[in-house]
Symmetry: C2
Subunit: 534 residues, 2 copies
Amino acid sequence: MQHWPLRVMRLVDHAAREHGEREIVTAWAGGRVTRSNWRDVAHDARRMAQALEALGIKPGDRVATLAMNHSSHLTAWYGAIGMGGVLHTINPRLFDDQILFIANHAEDRVLLYDHAFAETVERLKSRLETIETFICFDPPVEDEDSFVGWLAPHDGDYAWHEGDELDPCSLCYTSGTTGNPKGVLYSHRSTMLHAMAEVAPDSFNLSADACVMPIVPMFHANAWGIPWAAPLTGCKLVLSADYRPAQLCDLYRDENVTHSAGVPTVWLGMIEHIERTGADLSALRYVTIGGSAAPRAMIEWFREKGVHVMHAWGMTETSPIGSIGGKPPGWGEMTDEQQIAYTMHQGRTPFGIELRILGEDGSVLPRDGLHSGDLQVRGPWVIRRYFKEVADAAADDGWFGTGDVAALHPDGTMQITDRSKDVIKSGGEWISSIELENAAVGVPGVAEAAAIGIVHPKWDERPLLVVVRAPGSDVTSETICAHLETQVARWWLPDAVEFVDELPHTATGKLSKKTLREQFADYRFANAAEMVGR
Amino acid sequence: MQHWPLRVMRLVDHAAREHGEREIVTAWAGGRVTRSNWRDVAHDARRMAQALEALGIKPGDRVATLAMNHSSHLTAWYGAIGMGGVLHTINPRLFDDQILFIANHAEDRVLLYDHAFAETVERLKSRLETIETFICFDPPVEDEDSFVGWLAPHDGDYAWHEGDELDPCSLCYTSGTTGNPKGVLYSHRSTMLHAMAEVAPDSFNLSADACVMPIVPMFHANAWGIPWAAPLTGCKLVLSADYRPAQLCDLYRDENVTHSAGVPTVWLGMIEHIERTGADLSALRYVTIGGSAAPRAMIEWFREKGVHVMHAWGMTETSPIGSIGGKPPGWGEMTDEQQIAYTMHQGRTPFGIELRILGEDGSVLPRDGLHSGDLQVRGPWVIRRYFKEVADAAADDGWFGTGDVAALHPDGTMQITDRSKDVIKSGGEWISSIELENAAVGVPGVAEAAAIGIVHPKWDERPLLVVVRAPGSDVTSETICAHLETQVARWWLPDAVEFVDELPHTATGKLSKKTLREQFADYRFANAAEMVGR
């Protein structure tokens, strides 16, 4: 059969050739809406490849972005890779020191950034050691350092750089909870296989007649692969540089968005907005929820709106799709309760991915839904080694430790029960902080909740539940615990509930248990002192 | 990222691990129904790999089958490949000399066959020069030469043969219209990429909750890829060794088949049966029609039953999916007539495949829907070189001449207008024999129709329409031509209509224009003589 390297540029070539007029809509930070299409994005990517070559950028060099979601950022992904470069997406929500570390470690030569982050760039410029060229995507005034001005001299008469499918195409750092951020270097091949898997009906279910709006920033784990999978199908793509729920709801309505994706925090904001304003989800039919566990109430809310929830799990190290909840056999005959229980799990593995769980002694645990253990993953879009590291992150046979604790069920679904470091170890048994939190946010009046282990003289650790009340609510500790009693084992009940105005979050919008643990480092349970005294 | 060769055995490994209990149902030639599942098929494939090694079969050796669709045949596909062998599916409907040529040319070492073809095997045995072992899938009495008996000594404790993803995994000969049959040798990689593309929503739209019944024989072009794509998704698979419409309709009903695929001839038989008996299609939602063009009346019939028709095009040399009719953007807003017009075309290219059309001077023609030209194809699952040939069948840049004549439309669809050799050349212009035939079968009372070019003294060729009347019909030449006048250009109207009891078909069920042209080799139009006399 024919030689056909799995190179990423084939994606945008296919879209430009077969779906050239299919729209790419951008809502910019100020609310302005512009329209492009796959043909124009492919053409401008060729012009950008020429512009990079004019700067002396060579294949393999890193080209960084510090930007939200918009069509110029999309163009930059394909432009950087099209000339053989490695796209490096930097998370603008990171602290200065992290951004500096990442950009210097990656040896980025060019930085393309949003005007919204111009101050950050100015502040850090003198310490960005390898960046020679700074280009602003959307300056108030266009000049030769703006994206449009920079491309202006180039005509797009350019043939993509060819090479091996194992060449790197992009780089993304995980912020990590300890030590310096680590880079995950994706290959053309891994990116292509991930994209092909993602469009499947049991994955994101993407087709040419879909309209997809990722509410996942493009600096976050390949934006869950959507900017790669979209041109593969020729679907319409809607990008919003701003995550205000009002703007997102306008886009759902005006653009007839059928598919969307985001973390639970984003959906919480959307749901609150919709409930308050009476906005609706319009043509939306599928949402993918990942990043952290979707609470039951969120799943039920979408179901009531006629939207199918695909609950997913993954990480930067898995490109990121590791599991996703496509409809199982017999879905149509399942009761509501069965469907919800299925959706609460983090889905099944797409073809390519394997999962297993290990006990504390390193033995492989059964897939019976009863055992929980350390989750390992392997497959063609799973990391082997972090960028510039000398040792593999995965074992020789591919198994990579995820840091999650999970159960594998007989129906093939995976259920995250906790992060390894968040699990509460009480008297030799494990309490899932996530399950406690999910149960707690089901209590009316609870806006957000976090469970952490607090040192306990008898039990090693016992759970503390930290709660943010919903606006106007005066829900009490007693009400919450009474509700929890109906949801979890009695010995899982928190020893105390504390109320706070807000919980700490990471740069990617996830609950920061690490910061919370620091805030409560000196906390002790009242009854613990008694117990010691006894 | 991780090293993960695209090897076919990963398909059945995935299905056995993630969808082990999902059923594989077989209706055997006698009507008996048996049930297996992915776990058992994977296990028996390991036992077969052991049995092949016990015979001294080596990686790369060809293992042939002469069989209809059933679970043992499916097991044999994976068993042969699992030990590193090359699966060679032989079409039992071929003439003796063709079977002999193919099996000897392939140097098959083992033949697994259905009892239904035992007579053929006995008749040819002495002339099958390289086959050492004959195994019958379903003998009246089990013994050590039966499939079950042959596997009996083996326990399935076997690790698949590992190797390069470019290694061959299967071989299929095209019967061809001239010269000897030619072998298409598929690689693990090409087969895997084809399978990944096939499950997409815009292709076969396969998922774990689907139930698929191919009415495509497994000896025919990888059975359109379904035996590879099914384990990738973990769908339920229904195989019928018998194509009697009554048996197929029973299976639709009893097994809740949601997806099916077959050539128009098969569907004609099904439709006739259903109209006559009042059987129904039950849960069927998607049919893929390929092999030759689906007539409009067939598409309309399925639409009225609520079944979505995916009209596809491909050939043995393209694995076979070259184009398929997924729903285009705006499908929901299209009128019935627009949807039908879209479906009449042979669909769009899945990601990976490129099409172009060439004029008689070799120039690339525009994709405007107005020009027709010689269709060329290239992509990762398109042939480069026929088995054992010394020259490539495709050009250096991958373009392979299909022998079809087609138009490419602005909406991305491809429309086969004829086979290069079937097109009727009248006065320097081309008349599409397929369009004439499609229009003719839309006339009430016409069961089947074929248009061929007949030598004409003035116009070089003029169309002759050869018609099989439906049972009980006395439709006339005048009625047919009156109807055709409303469908095609006036100068396309056939110069004569001849009625026959049946039309010749090839071994794969397609209309044999070659045989028909031989039958009508001496035919001359009555008016042609006059014209010469003028």
